[in-house]
């Protein structure tokens, strides 16, 4: 059964790129504001247990059509774990490097100025 837990004031997450890390039922969860939306991600890297959501938000390096040149996609929706650099898309929880690797994500509700994580 899911419940919603308050994690932040909406004013703390008014800007894209902002984040709040809170504890919910013994687990740390980060809520990010990205592209006008809210995304909640477990603050725990599946690699070696590092504080994933304390890492930087980054875009993504891709290749050009011919597969040789490099391009940088500036949509900064990947959180980079500060321990070893593993990346996860905050909107899906999945690693852009291998889609089998993912961290838990949670629904977010905003109600009357309070941001809730649902778990």
């Amino acid at each position: 059964m899911t419940e919603r837990y308050p994690v932040a004031d909406a004013t703390e997450l008014s800007e894209d790129g902002s984040r709040v890390i809170a504890e919910v039922r013994g687990q740390e969860i980060a809520v990010f504001r990205h592209d006008g939306d809210y995304y909640a991600v477990a603050n725990y890297c599946i690699h070696q247990g590092g504080p994933l959501c304390e890492g930087a938000l980054s875009g993504r390096m891709t290749t050009s059509e011919d597969g040789w040149d490099w391009r940088y996609d500036e949509d900064e929706k990947y959180v980079v774990c500060p321990w070893h650099g593993w990346q996860f898309d905050i909107t899906t929880g999945r690693s852009p490097k291998d889609e089998r690797y993912a961290v838990p994500t949670y629904d977010v509700e905003v109600d009357d100025g309070t941001v809730y994580a649902v778990r």
Partner: protein, 378 residues
């Protein structure tokens, strides 16, 4: 712990080589001589002129430090006697190879060159191109009369466009089942964009690319230079070559872009598991600078890379090292190779001895022949 982890029930085992459906050797070798090659070379070519004038082919034509065929004459296999029975100058053609392979239970052999394993170390690109073509023509003539053997066509990485043309030229021959891209001495390493024509051609013709390593390696000049003895160089050069090239191939995205099977030969299996752990680790940590891949390097290795068993390396101990490596690499990706006539210990019988107690019959049959059958469409 390891032994009990790997041992299988009697009922699941192959009881002997005779039980095995079909043995395919992905690395039987002919020993071509410069004389053999010159006969198939255009006499009006400059390459023919120069190569025919010199006796010192190892030093002056295949000008890498590699003394690949020569090292056979130092091997003693633990006895006082050298193990090589032929002279380095002898031509060993397909018929002789077929006989030796047959004598140890090999039903079908995929043939590689000997001398031209050093082709990547030929300094003069024109010679390299000419030697590759001459070898392929010599090989085709040899293979005509030996139904038990098929072959890899050699190409010179020094000139990728001409290499692609050579692949186009011989790809439809029944006896050509793959490409040999000699791994040692290749610079830059094989992932570099300049080799793309070769991968285009191999992909277009559905031909696997075999990469066999040798020693005395121009690619690792410093390590080679300071090795005080042949065995010192021998210990590491083979795997260095393969690891350097495969890292390059993977990180530059070749298996993402091309549908080509790679067969890594000459360095055995033992380096593969740790190499895989390193590749995956680097990819996940430094992924920001490896944009060409969409999955773990190990996933590409699993899909498109095949590792030849030779050399199994001396076990000499009670621990089942070789069975552990086969298990770790995954029997689906392991293919038997003898390196005949050069290796003396890696016969199908020896392989069965090492693996029968540890590998279920299906997997053992796959390693000894089934995988190669599929890979080379035999």
């Amino acid at each position: 712990m390891l032994d009990s982890a790997l041992q299988i029930d009697e009922a699941e085992r192959v009881s002997g080589l005779a039980d095995v459906d079909r043995v395919v050797d992905v690395d039987a070798q002919v020993q071509e001589t410069p004389g053999d090659l010159l006969e198939h070379m255009d006499e009006s070519s400059g390459a023919h002129r120069v190569i025919s004038l010199t006796d010192l082919h190892h030093d002056m034509i295949y000008a890498g430090p590699s003394s690949y065929p020569l090292y056979e004459y130092k091997r003693t296999n633990g006895t006082e006697e050298p193990v090589a029975t032929d002279d380095v100058g002898d031509s060993i053609g397909a018929a002789a190879v077929a006989e030796r392979a047959g004598a140890v239970g090999v039903e079908t052999g995929v043939v590689n060159p000997t001398l031209n394993l050093g082709l990547s170390e030929v300094n003069n690109d024109r010679f390299a191109v000419a030697l590759a073509t001459a070898y392929n023509d010599w090989l085709l003539a040899e293979l005509d009369a030996t139904p038990e053997l098929v072959g890899n066509a050699v190409v010179a990485p020094q000139h990728p466009e001409r290499a692609a043309e050579e692949i186009d030229r011989v790809a439809d021959e029944d006896d050509i089942v793959g490409i040999q891209l000699p791994a040692s001495g290749v610079m830059p390493p094989l992932g570099h964009r300049q080799y793309r024509p070769i991968y285009d051609a191999a992909d277009a013709h559905g031909l696997p690319i075999a990469m066999k390593s040798t020693v005395g390696n121009k690619s690792f000049g410093q390590q080679y230079w300071w090795a005080q003895s042949f065995p010192e160089d021998f210990v590491y050069q083979h795997s260095f070559v393969q690891m350097r090239n495969v890292t390059s191939l993977l990180f530059e995205g070749v298996p993402e872009r091309y549908d080509v099977d790679f067969v890594v030969q000459g360095a055995g299996l033992g380096f593969v598991p740790f190499f895989t752990y390193r590749l995956d680790d680097h990819y996940l940590e430094l992924g920001y600078e490896l944009p060409a891949l969409s999955q773990l390097p190990s996933a590409y290795l699993s899909e498109s890379f095949h590792w030849a068993t030779q050399p199994m390396d001396q076990s000499g101990q009670s621990l089942p090292y070789f069975p552990a490596m086969v298990d770790m690499v995954g029997p689906d990706n392991v293919v038997f190779a003898s390196d005949l006539p050069h290796a003396v210990t890696d016969t199908p019988g020896t392989l069965v001895d090492r693996l029968a107690a540890y590998l279920p019959a299906d997997d053992l049959e796959a390693v000894l022949g089934g995988n190669a059958e599929r890979l080379y469409e035999l």
